[in-house]
């Protein structure tokens, strides 16, 4: 049972004298056996450091790390039963692929026949049998990545750690390897912890995703929950592409209904949200709405004056199947995702319908989610 548990883990680096840099702040995380966990966040958010703490490449300042129910705080990496795949592959340049893959097993003093069997088996899984005799420098990026993954697999570790393994690959190969790593996870039934700054990778691969910022965990959830119910404005803006639109305004009451009012438009708040928003009446808050929840009025089925606004098109980005519109209300810039058959021109004013049942509201000061 290879659970990985982090309890109140802190990591401080000596930065300037008397002012240590807190790279990881009070991280609590429990990664279940056979789970695929993705740590995601912008650069400098502490995700890689967290992974290196689990690997044992950095010492933790405070807290506890358990792997398979064993406290590993002071255990050297080789005894933690982990394998790590690095961003730049970190293959040994002076060894050929076979030697690279067998190196860890050789250090463990496994019998030669077993080493050979394991390496050949793994090479077969990854489709690299024909390059076993080659040195890393003659391999392509994709092949090197496979070898790096293979080097991890042959060791049959309890936990796989991936540190942005795909960021050095070109876009097409990245998509392909993404699927292959997911397949490997299903096949190997191992615990995997994967670090990336790419939210698409996170969404597509992770059973659960850990969003981090400034050394703090923002939210831990499965991809859909993260997308539909972000805990704060940061998570809402980070997950999803194109990103969620944010508009600042305030709540006002007209007759029996509640409206969100920006300077240049007013939309009616969905009935389900009213009770939660009661205490924010008259106060400043931020409306969040995803580009796919905004529709051209011409094609919208539920258009009404209460959820329709007028905006000016600034840029049209045709993507093939759809088009991204960069718009402005006059005060807030925002984006909409519309079908590509819509013929729109720059500087044209259009009427747009907001699906207010999908809208989010954030506290302006704390940036926490209200709805």
């Amino acid at each position: 049972m290879a659970r990985v548990v982090l309890k109140n883990v802190w990591k401080r680096f000596p930065d300037k004298p008397g002012k240590p840099k807190e790279a990881v702040r009070n991280v609590n995380l429990s990664c279940e056996d056979k789970e695929f966990i993705v740590l995601v966040g912008p650069s400098g958010c502490g995700k890689s450091t967290t992974l290196r703490l689990i690997a044992g490449l950095e010492d933790i300042t405070e807290g506890e790390i358990m792997i398979a129910d064993k406290l590993v705080n002071d255990m050297p990496p080789k005894d933690r039963d982990i394998a790590m795949v690095f961003q730049n592959y970190a293959l040994y340049p002076h060894m050929n692929v076979y030697e690279n893959m067998s190196f860890g097993l050789k250090l463990k003093k496994l019998p030669k026949e077993e080493i050979q069997q394991r390496v050949l088996e793994t090479a077969d899984i990854l489709g690299i049998t024909d390059i076993l005799e080659k040195k890393p420098r003659v391999l392509s990026g994709g092949q090197r990545q496979r070898v790096a993954v293979g080097r991890a697999i042959v060791r049959k570790p309890k936990v796989f750690l991936f540190d942005e393994p795909l960021s050095n690959l070109d876009a097409k190969l990245r998509v392909q390897m993404r699927a292959e790593i997911s397949k490997l996870h299903t096949r190997l039934q191992a615990t995997m912890i994967y670090v990336t700054h790419d939210q698409v990778e996170a969404m597509t691969m992770g059973d659960r995703i850990v969003v981090m910022k400034d050394g703090l965990i923002q939210q831990i959830a499965d991809p859909i929950t993260l997308y539909d119910q972000p805990t704060n404005k940061f998570v809402a803006g980070f997950i999803g592409s194109p990103a969620m639109n944010f508009m600042e305004g305030s709540l006002i009451k007209k007759k029996d209904a509640v409206y969100f009012s920006e300077e240049n438009f007013t939309v009616k708040v969905h009935d389900d949200h009213i009770s939660t928003l009661e205490e924010y009446m008259g106060k400043d808050l931020t409306l969040g709405i995803r580009p796919e929840d905004i529709f051209d009025k011409v094609y919208a089925s539920n258009a009404s004056p209460d959820n329709t606004i007028t905006a000016t098109v600034e840029v049209v980005e045709p993507m093939g199947a759809e088009a991204y519109l960069y718009l402005t209300t006059g005060k807030s810039p925002f984006m909409a995702r519309v079908a590509s058959y819509e013929q729109l021109e720059v500087n044209q004013d259009i009427d747009l319908v907001f699906d207010m049942s999908k809208a989010h509201f954030f506290d302006r000061a704390t940036e926490q989610t209200i709805v």
Binding site: A55, L57, P76, P77, K78, I82, A83, M84, F86, Q87, N88, A90, L91, Y92, P93, H94, F103, G104, L107, K108, R151, R155
Partner: protein
């Protein structure tokens, strides 16, 4: 296109004239040495032609056996090989520590080594000689090997440390995860990776030790322990300077270096620029 190429050739002519002239000036003494080694004693200065009247290859045999050059040659081989072994072993370990470990006084110790490059070796001869006498090492093989090793260390450490520092940290971390101890890391990762740097260090060390004369002159008096450069001097005094034999001895002394240059000139060039990018 053709005009362009021609222009390039034309503009290169002055440079090549200078280089060809310089090559002749450099190579001529060697050719003269070789020619003289095959002449008779009375012919050396009378026959100015580079082609001997009688090709006396027997001079080499005489120099090797009678002139004791066989012994000198093997002594030189011995000193060079042992010094090289010591220097590579010690310098690579020290460079690994300097490049990858953090310990108190690391920079001070390192700069002391590098600083020793600034002291010309003859400048240290008197204290060194006194030290060797007190240690009972004067006129022994060890009395030559230890100072040679010491002299070779600074440059070797410098070259290897620079090289080790450029090995990506991730490779080291991958090895740690794979289960490498500190010694495994040195032995299985850093050392094999450092082959080009080791080749450079080897060339510098071999050249320095093989050509060394002054220290051997001071430390060694026993003819059976003399390296070839020192032996040549003895030979010159003893035999009223038999020039053909002397030149045969010099040719023998030169051959190993020519072989090294021939096979390793790539590394010699690299070695000259080693540390130029990051020092």
């Amino acid at each position: 296109m053709i005009i362009k190429i021609n222009r390039k050739i034309v503009s290169n002519i002055p440079a090549h004239v200078v280089l060809i002239f310089w090559s002749i000036v450099s190579v001529f003494p060697l050719v003269w040495m070789f020619a003289a080694s095959l002449k008779e004693q009375n012919e050396v200065f009378s026959n100015l032609s580079l082609i001997p009247q009688a090709w006396k290859f027997v001079n080499y045999l005489t120099a090797w056996n009678v002139g004791n050059f066989g012994v000198y040659f093997f002594n030189s081989l011995f000193y060079t090989a042992v010094t090289l072994g010591f220097a590579l072993f010690l310098a690579s370990m020290a460079a690994y520590a300097f490049a990858r470990f953090r310990f108190i006084g690391r920079n001070i110790i390192y700069f002391m080594f590098i600083g020793s490059l600034m002291i010309p070796i003859p400048g240290a001869f008197i204290p060194l000689y006194v030290l060797l006498i007190k240690l009972g090492l004067a006129d022994t093989r060890l009395g030559l090997i230890l100072p040679y090793t010491n002299a070779a260390l600074a440059l070797a450490i410098f070259i290897l440390k620079t090289f080790f520092e450029n090995i990506p940290k991730e490779i080291e971390e991958a090895a740690v995860v794979d289960g490498c101890s500190k010694f495994d890391m040195y032995w299985r990762i850093f050392l094999p990776l450092a082959k080009p740097a080791m080749a450079t260090v080897s060339i510098f060390t071999v050249l320095a030790v093989w050509n060394e004369f002054l220290l051997a002159l001071i430390v060694i008096n026993n003819r059976n322990l003399m390296p070839i450069q020192r032996g040549i001097m003895v030979f010159q005094g003893e035999h009223l300077t038999d020039y053909p034999l002397l030149m045969a001895g010099l040719t023998i002394a030169t051959i190993p270096l020519l072989v090294i240059y021939f096979f390793l000139s790539k590394y010699i060039l690299k070695g000259i620029t080693a540390g130029a990018v990051k020092g």
